[in-house]
């Protein structure tokens, strides 16, 4: 009977991973929670209602009563642009300080009104505009030209559409580097590496088994996050799914190799944790996960563009949002492949087996 040791090593990695409940949580549940949180933050909302407060007019002031009445009736219709409530005179400052209303309307005895608001708050400026229109129209102002609003919501240009490919890339980076670094350093610490080095095991196969086992989980990881993005958040996937998976796979393999390199010398988990963060931190900042990497000065762009996470995130974004094909993302694939080959070669050379 002939055994394939690469297959056995990969199988062992796979088994060790699925028998570790915490690992499952951090790999699968955590990104979903993150995406879920974002879904709530970026959900489709009805246009904002302006919340205003009207100072209760004294009983004998008919002009003020008319003003208040106009606002109350405007607020009572369906899909009203404002929500109004009455407040006593002495609580005006309180309301403005705490921001419970964006605008306070004070009716003047001569029939005029005074608006009190903080112009630094965008919703306060909008509330002033809305309220003023209502009051002016109630007194007979008519608009001189007819306007019609046509609102457009472009799918794929929302922030969540920008963010999901970034989150996907960041997750591939994090899980690839962490799972490898942790597993390898633990094995080194327990002298299991030394024991394995005492067998005729191929050392390249040992390192490859980590990269391969990553790919097995990657399918699940990407599938879960992508499914959530597509079905719950309605993020478009305009390019081919095969190309998308290919880029994700090459990305995972590249970060797997980086993970091997990071963990090639460390003897303790504490030591490798610091190193891992050191490697990942620049990419969290510069690689355009949360905002476009083009925001950084031109002088550092060559460095930013050469980061593997930049390549992965840009590749994923181009495929998902712009429908790019293999022909368009080959530069990103080339960058990732270069990282894979270089890091794996160096790791194999400097790897500490004891």
């Amino acid at each position: 009977m002939r055994f394939s040791s690469l297959q056995q090593l990969t199988l062992a990695r796979f088994r060790e991973f699925i028998r570790e409940p915490e690992a499952i949580f951090w790999t699968f549940v955590f990104p979903l929670l993150l995406a879920g949180g974002l879904a709530i933050a970026f959900r489709d909302k009805a246009p904002e209602q302006a919340i205003i407060a009207v100072v209760t007019p004294s009983a004998g002031d008919s002009a003020a009563l008319r003003t208040a009445g106009a606002l109350t009736s405007a607020a009572s219709v369906d899909k009203a642009p404002i929500r109004a409530r009455q407040i006593p005179t002495d609580s005006v400052d309180d309301v403005l300080r705490t921001g419970t209303a964006a605008l306070v309307v004070v009716a003047m005895p001569a029939g005029g009104v005074e608006y009190r608001f903080d112009p630094a708050r965008p919703e306060a400026r909008a509330a002033r505009q809305q309220t003023d229109d209502i009051l002016q129209r109630a007194r007979g102002r008519s608009d001189v030209i007819e306007v019609r609003d046509v609102t457009v919501r472009e799918r794929g240009s929302r922030y969540i559409d920008f963010f999901v490919p970034g989150l996907l890339g960041m997750n591939i980076m994090g899980s690839s580097i962490w799972s490898l670094a942790f597993a390898i350093v633990t094995q080194r610490n327990k002298k299991l590496l030394k024991r394995l080095a005492a067998t005729p095991m191929s050392r390249l196969e040992y390192l490859l088994s980590f990269v391969l086992s990553r790919l097995v989980f990657l399918g699940l990881e990407v599938g879960v996050l992508l499914g959530f993005g597509a079905f719950i958040l309605d993020v478009p996937i305009r390019g081919s799914l095969v190309t998308l998976l290919l880029v994700a796979f090459v990305g995972a393999a590249a970060f797997g190799a980086i993970g091997l390199l990071v963990s090639s010398r460390s003897r303790t988990v504490e030591g490798v944790s610091g190193l891992t963060n050191f490697v990942m931190l620049p990419m969290w900042i510069f690689s355009g996960v949360f905002f476009s990497s083009n925001n950084f000065p031109a002088a550092i762009q060559p460095v930013v563009q050469a980061l593997p996470l930049t390549a992965l995130v840009n590749g994923l974004r181009e495929i998902m949002l712009q429908g790019a094909g293999l022909g368009a993302v080959w530069p990103q694939l080339a960058v990732l492949t270069a990282y894979l080959v270089v890091c794996l070669t160096i790791a194999l050379r400097i790897f500490r087996w004891q």
Partner: protein, 316 residues
């Protein structure tokens, strides 16, 4: 196999030297292990046993000297050697989440040829535990699994580094049974231990190692015979009590071959307890000495070590 009549050497170590930053671990050590024998390296902790065995296993490099394993050297035939050696390290922790069967199947996959996994599980008596995870095994079972990992490649030469250290007496005996089975199969074994009973029971030949050197070599029987005494008498005094007798006076007694002063008493190596005891009791009666302890035992390798170094094995 060579054709000449001289016994084949499975392992030959000449003038081996290894120093670490501040300590000389191995200092001109020599070993010759003939094929088919179980050879023991006996010595206290820090004597250089593990460094020596790891150099022989190709896991450590020597500063000087020659190591020839199965007639080959590590710098030229590493892969060839790894396929033919079985190795148990002192403190390997195997993957906790894998089962016995999975662990052995993994190790088996590294070797070009070897025995079946089931065979090896049977050999180390882990049949009932084959589907148990490593973290559910007892210390003795883990140690037998480690031994099984060393056996899956059907090794010509087996290195066991302190295979029973830290085990309870029953687990130790169980492991000894397995090693005795391997000896019957005619395997060459190099074993390190700091338990003299283990060396005495398992080893055909023993090298006593201290400060990185072999200080005595022979079969257990030869080594004990070299003491020139078959028994050891221990005389103990109560804590802090000085007895009116000197070591020189005791050594001068007839039939006493040697001895030493201990923190609370004396230890004498004698040819016959019966011959020495009357004169010992005579001195005690004469000078009014009340020994708090008087015990005798047959001489062991421990006594050999003590007579060679003046220290006990366990003192390290």
């Amino acid at each position: 196999m060579t054709q000449n009549t001289a016994p084949t050497l499975a392992l030959e170590v000449l003038d081996l030297r290894k120093s670490y930053a501040d300590v000389v671990a191995v200092n001109g050590l020599e070993l010759r292990v003939t094929a088919g024998q179980c050879f023991g390296l006996l010595g206290p902790n820090g004597a250089g046993k593990t460094t020596t065995i790891e150099i022989c296993e190709g896991l450590n490099t020597a500063d000087g000297g020659t190591v020839r394993v199965l007639g080959r050297t590590w710098d030229r035939d590493a892969t060839w050697l790894r396929n033919r050696l079985g190795i148990q390290l002192q403190e390997t922790q195997l993957a906790e989440k894998l089962t016995v069967l999975e662990t052995l199947t993994l190790f088996r996959s590294f070797y070009d040829q070897g025995r079946t996994v089931d065979d090896v599980i049977e050999l180390v008596q882990l049949g009932e535990k084959r589907t148990s995870r490593v973290n559910g095994l007892s210390g003795g079972q883990k140690q037998r699994l480690a031994l099984a990992c060393a056996l899956v490649g059907d090794p010509e030469l087996l290195f066991l580094d302190e295979p029973t250290t830290g085990l309870d007496p029953q687990s130790r005996r169980q492991l000894w049974t397995v090693v005795e089975g391997l000896k019957r199969e005619g395997r060459t074994i190099l074993l390190t231990t700091h338990y003299m009973d283990e060396a005495e029971r398992l080893c055909d030949n023993i090298a006593i190692v201290d400060h990185g050197k072999v200080i005595a070599l022979g079969t257990p029987r030869e080594l004990i015979a070299s003491l020139g005494a078959d028994h050891v008498i221990r005389l103990g005094t109560a804590e802090g009590v000085t007895v009116p007798v000197t070591l020189a006076e005791l050594l001068a007694l007839p039939d006493v071959n040697g001895g030493r002063e201990m923190p609370n008493g004396f230890e004498l190596r004698v040819r016959s307890v019966q011959a020495v005891l009357p004169s010992l009791l005579g001195i005690a009666a004469q000078r009014g000495i009340a020994w708090s302890e008087l015990s005798t035992h047959s001489a062991t390798l421990e006594d050999v070590f003590v007579s060679l170094t003046g220290r006990e094995l366990r003192e390290g």
